[in-house]
Subunit: 205 residues, 2 copies
């Protein structure tokens, strides 16, 4: 049920809601009506939070994650290993890796992956700033934890080539997080490509 | 993955997004970051649409649907049957019924159903205005198309009792849309309660 809405004001608001990823028209109508049924001050609180975020947000000057301060809490922490930099696509990956409890290095948030189809090139994401960090900071290992997709792999290989050219005289280690079967999963339920990679990248016990 | 966000500004915005029905925390983070990656003018266009809707929206003075004008396009149309009023919960029901192409009367949008658990009583929805319409307009039939739930039925019976008391001397017909098996469905795949109602409310061929 979409239909023509009887109000142009409502139509405009629904179309804006519809710009959110994964939010279809029916859901957009439902969410917009939910907002409309609130008080004016509640709607203002809702909208102001996004305006305030956009106007006042900082990005950490080292790793480019979202921060309220110039340097984020991870980069400014004395207990983190500043020699190891984990390269991720976005902040949700930082949160996910932090949740594992298995990583004590710092991060570099690209803000996206190279994707010609979406018009995203190396200059649109934080590639140059990563290469600059290798000059300025005592980095000994870079770990790529980008999406295991074509765009993620392309981005990884592109950046690695830049690193090899720039840091040819250093002993910097460059690695990528493993592809394999998920813990709890079984070979017969794993897709062939992942399973093939799991066999190729087997590790000795 | 929720975790503690490294930015309080981001946390506040995510919590606001989380107030939308059916939008969980992970989705709220994803949607908020999508907004953050837009230009400032795009974020302003997004937020302004809801503020504008809230500040400038009208509700039709007859049926209380959302309208940009004092009287909505259905109520002001000369080709609609003003003697028949279909009572619905909200605007999405108006759209759904309009999409059937099977109804040419007018509507009355209650804006909710009676639900003590949610603190919604008869005074919180457009019940009195419906009863007032029976005095002011030449209504000969009222059709209840509320949700087929306990709250919907309660609301229907409550309003019907008021109608019977108030319009005892008129010949107003009061009906409710049929419960039954959905077109294309089969008895064995229909839940027992609906199937039982379908048998009880069978119509002669």
């Amino acid at each position: 049920m979409t239909g023509d809405l009887p109000s142009e004001l409502l139509e405009q608001a629904v179309q804006q809601m519809n710009t959110l990823p994964g939010i279809g028209r029916k859901t957009s109508i439902r969410l917009t009506l939910n907002l409309l049924r609130r008080s004016e001050s509640e709607v203002e609180a809702f909208t102001n939070s996004f305006l305030k975020l956009k106007k006042e947000v900082h990005f950490c000057r080292y790793c480019h994650t979202i921060s309220d301060t110039e340097v984020c809490s991870i980069c400014s922490s004395h207990s983190r290993d500043k020699h190891t930099v984990c390269v991720v696509e976005d902040i949700q990956d930082v949160l996910a890796i932090e949740n594992t409890g298995q990583y004590n290095g710092v991060y570099h948030v690209l803000g996206g992956v190279i994707s010609p189809m979406d018009g995203v090139g190396p200059k649109d994401i934080e590639v140059d700033s990563l290469l600059q960090r290798l000059n300025n900071e005592p980095v000994t290992e870079i770990i790529f934890a980008l999406p295991a997709t074509m765009e993620g792999d392309t981005t990884c290989f592109f950046i690695n080539r830049q690193i090899q050219e720039q840091a040819a005289d250093t002993n910097i280690k460059v690695s990528q997080i493993a592809r394999g079967i998920a813990v709890g999963n079984e070979p017969q339920y794993t897709d062939e490509i992942t399973l093939g990679r799991a066999i190729l990248n087997r590790h000795t016990l």
